[in-house]
Subunit: 213 residues, 2 copies
DNA sequence: GAAATGTGTCCGCTTAACGGACAATTTTGT
DNA sequence: ACAAAATTGTCCGTTAAGCGGACACATTTC
C-alpha cells in the first residue's frame, strides 16, 4: 500500500481529538499536544475543518460542528445500498423478508429491507421503522455478548403472528447492527439461523476496511 | 485570516464528494474530476479517510463509512454543553423550563434542557425525548417558513396542562432546531415570544462559524 | 507586578504532496 | 476472438505546501 497523505491524517486526528474531548471541549494548545503537532499546525488545520462546519470555535474551546450531522445523514442510505445484494440472497434463500437494522441509542432502526420474489405471502417491513432494543429479534441480536449464541429468535413480539431470526453484525467498530428475517410462519431456527449468521458475517467482511489486520 | 491547509481541504472536499454521490456511489476517477485533482491525489487522500473509517471501498465504488456515525454521536453532547448558558438565561428570565431541540427525520428530539431555579413548580422535561414535528411548539417551530412568524405556541398538545412557546434556530446550514420554554401555566406569548426568539438568535450567532460573511 | 498560560501570525527550511507517465486489468465494440 | 478504449493502481522527479520556532499581545494566577 502506498503511503497516504500525512497532512490529511493529521487533520483527521485533530477532528478525532476534538470528538474525544467530549463535553468539556479542548483548547487549541491542548489539541496541539494531543495530536503531537505545533500550535501553528493546528491553526492551519482548523481552517478547512471550520469552513466545512465540522468544527467551530466556542470562545477558546473547539467543538464538533453540525456539518458532521449532514455527512452522517448520508451514511445509512449508502449502507443500505451496499447491503442490498447480501439481503437479496438471504431473502431468496430463506423465502422471507430480510432486513438490516442499526442501533441508535436505545432503539433499533430498520435501514434496509428486501422482500423475497417467489413467495405467495411475505411480511412487508417498512424501512425506517424503530422499536426498542429489548423486543424483537433484530433488537435483541444487537445486545448479544460476544462468544455467546450466534443468533436469536422471536415470535409475536413486535407484531402478532410474525416470527423473526436475527444475528449481530460484529467486528465493525462504532456500529451496532444486526441482520435477520421475518416471516408469517414459524421459522426453522436450526436451518435459518446459520444462514442469517453467514449473511451477517459477509456484511462484516465488506464493512471492515480491507487494510485492517 | 491565515491561509488554511490545502491538502486537508482537498481531503474534506473528497469526503463531501463521496457524500454528495448519494446512493449510487462514485468511482475514484469520478471523484478526481469532482474535486479537481489528479487520480493519484485521490488515492493518497483515501488512505487516511479509509483508515479512520470515514470511507470504505465497495468494489470500485467509494462509500461513506460508519466512523462518521461515531463522530456524529459526539456532536449533540457538545452542542448541549454549548447551549447551556443561553438556556440558563432564558429559563431564569421566563421562569419556565427552557429547551433546545433538533430535528432528526420526521421527529424532534430534546437535546438540552435547563430548569429555572427560583420557581415553586416547573415542568421537568427529559433530555432525549422525541415527538413528532407536527405537534408541540418545539417541533412546529422547525417547520416555520422563513419570513413568517417568529415563534409558535402550543397548549396541551404533548401533555395535558402544559403550554409551550418556541422559535426556530435559523441560518445554520445542516441544522433544523428550535429553542423554547414549557410551563404549567399559560404563557404570555407577547412577552415570552420575543425572549425565545432572542435566545434562538444568540444560539445562531455562536453556531454559525465566525468567518462566514 | 511578575510569572504563567493562551492566542494569533510571520517566515525560512525541509519535507511531503503533486501529477504526468507506465504497466496491468477490465470493458467495449466489430 | 482479437483489438481498441477505458480504468485501476503505482512510481518518481519537481515544486510548492506544510512545518515549527519565534515574536507580540491578551488574559489569568499567585
Amino acid at each position: 500500500m502506498t503511503e497516504g497523505s500525512l497532512t490529511l491524517d493529521r487533520g483527521l486526528a485533530l477532528l478525532q481529538a476534538v470528538a474525544d474531548a467530549g463535553g468539556d471541549a479542548a483548547t487549541i494548545s491542548e489539541l496541539a499536544v494531543t495530536i503531537g503537532a505545533s500550535r501553528a499546525a493546528v491553526y492551519r488545520l482548523l481552517v478547512p475543518l471550520s469552513e466545512r462546519g465540522l468544527v467551530w470555535r466556542d470562545g477558546n474551546k473547539v467543538r464538533l460542528g453540525v456539518g458532521l450531522l449532514r455527512l452522517a445523514g448520508q451514511v445509512l442510505p449508502q449502507l443500505r445500498e451496499a447491503a442490498q445484494p447480501v439481503l437479496r440472497a438471504l431473502a431468496e434463500a430463506v423465502g422471507a423478508t430480510a432486513h438490516l437494522s442499526v442501533a441508535q441509542g436505545p432503539q433499533a432502526q430498520a435501514v434496509a429491507v428486501v422482500e423475497p420474489s417467489w413467495t405467495n405471502f411475505h411480511v412487508a417491513y417498512r424501512v425506517g421503522t424503530r422499536h426498542s432494543l429489548t423486543s424483537g429479534a433484530a433488537g435483541k441480536a444487537m445486545t448479544l455478548r460476544p462468544g455467546g449464541e450466534g443468533w436469536v429468535t422471536s415470535s409475536g413480539e413486535l407484531e402478532a403472528g410474525a416470527s423473526g431470526v436475527a444475528a449481530p453484525v460484529r467486528g465493525v467498530p462504532g456500529l451496532r447492527a444486526s441482520v435477520g428475517v421475518v416471516s408469517l410462519e414459524p421459522l426453522d431456527a436450526a436451518t435459518v439461523g446459520p444462514q442469517v449468521v453467514a449473511a451477517a458475517a459477509s456484511l462484516t467482511a465488506v464493512l471492515r476496511s480491507p487494510n485492517d489486520s
